[in-house]
């Protein structure tokens, strides 16, 4: 089965991940800009990072026949530094022109501070101005419900196209308002702190699937790119067809990401089951 990993932090992972993902059917990964585990102090560090994910990482993925795409943004944690955020935002349009850059992300909220909200607004404004997709991070654990509500309130006060916005890391307590507002919703499968492969399949069975994305967001912390495949196995084990799995794990990413013409992987149909 062909699989798309819509949220994956490749620079934190080994080539062995790419090899094993390729062996398991992954044909493309998308790498949003994220937090490095420490707060970067210099705009230039971001510029080099954006160059790494837009220029170098595609070559590393290509060694294993995997397409690599990226997103650029100042992540919510570092958005507390207003001076840094302003300068990085000033230089971001250059990277939005890169042939594998799909949009602005992951922006969003961490502790939902005024500076984070200001940064989220600036990122979304930039994305809409440049007709870009947006990937929005929602907070972890006890901050999630409040942070997601705040994200939705911020977006409701802006002139945005919900078709172009993916709100990520939804769980049972946050998925409904995201879908009700017309946005795409992403489920991130983590070993401990986010959704699990089985709970994700419960959600897939409960809600309309047309705007749902599933990802591992594997990074440098406790995470695992193969939680995505675990959820596929769980989905199939419950009796759902191969085509139904392809719709979720391959075609939905194609439909959302394909709004950017740089994404040229098309939805597929399994001719025989």
């Amino acid at each position: 089965m062909q699989i798309i990993q819509p949220h994956y932090h490749a620079i934190a992972r080994t080539a062995q991940d790419y090899e094993r993902m390729a062996m398991s059917g992954v044909v493309a990964v998308c790498e949003p800009a994220f937090w490095a585990g420490f707060d970067r102090r210099h705009p230039e560090t971001f510029i080099d990072y954006f160059a790494q994910i837009s220029e170098f990482e595609p070559t590393r993925a290509a060694e294993f026949g995997i397409r690599h795409y990226c997103w650029v943004a100042v992540n919510p944690k570092e958005a507390e530094n207003k001076e840094l955020t302003t300068e990085v935002l000033r230089q971001m349009p250059e990277f939005l022109e890169k042939p594998t850059c799909l949009g602005v992300g992951e922006t969003g909220l961490h502790k939902s501070t005024p500076n984070e909200i200001e940064s989220l607004q600036a990122h979304v404004e930039m994305a809409m101005k440049h007709d870009q997709l947006v990937l929005i991070h929602t907070p972890h654990l006890s901050d999630k419900a409040h942070g997601t509500k705040t994200v939705l309130e911020v977006l409701a006060g802006m002139d945005v196209n919900p078709d172009k916005i993916w709100i990520d890391h939804v769980e049972e307590q946050t998925i409904e308002p995201v879908l009700d507002a017309g946005y795409w919703a992403g489920m991130t499968l983590y070993p401990v702190t986010k959704c699990s492969p089985r709970r994700a399949v419960d959600i897939l069975e409960k809600y309309p699937r047309e705007r749902l994305l599933v990802n591992s967001s594997a990074d440098w912390g406790p995470s695992d790119p193969f939680t995505l495949q675990e959820s596929i196995v769980e989905f199939r084990r419950r009796g759902h067809s191969l085509q139904a799995a392809v719709e979720i794990y391959h075609n939905n990413p194609c439909r959302f990401l394909g709004q950017n013409p740089k994404w040229d992987i098309k939805p597929i149909t399994i001719s025989e089951e």
Binding site: P191, V192, S196, K206
Partner: protein, 78 residues
């Protein structure tokens, strides 16, 4: 050996995850009942899980033997 605080701090998130999985199993069952319009012919495994949580919810376990109690409890299900 871990201190009491360190024990909670170390294992809280994993226990949270595991409880969420149990909650999801019960939700999954309820959704299946809604879809099929009927309960399972034999609900003893669901009852067993609920009883296990009652054991865990007791405020005092002077012998710190919850796992042993649950194993004995689950042994009743064949």
């Amino acid at each position: 050996m871990l201190s009491p605080q360190k024990t909670l701090d170390t294992y809280y998130l994993e226990a949270r995850r595991d409880l969420l999985e149990v909650a999801a199993v019960l939700d999954r069952y309820d959704e299946a009942v809604k879809r099929d319009g009927a309960k399972a012919e034999n609900e003893s495994k669901k009852v067993s899980l609920l009883e296990a949580m009652e054991i865990l919810a007791q405020p005092e376990h002077p012998n710190a033997n919850r796992a042993e109690q649950l194993l004995n409890h689950f042994a009743k299900i064949t």
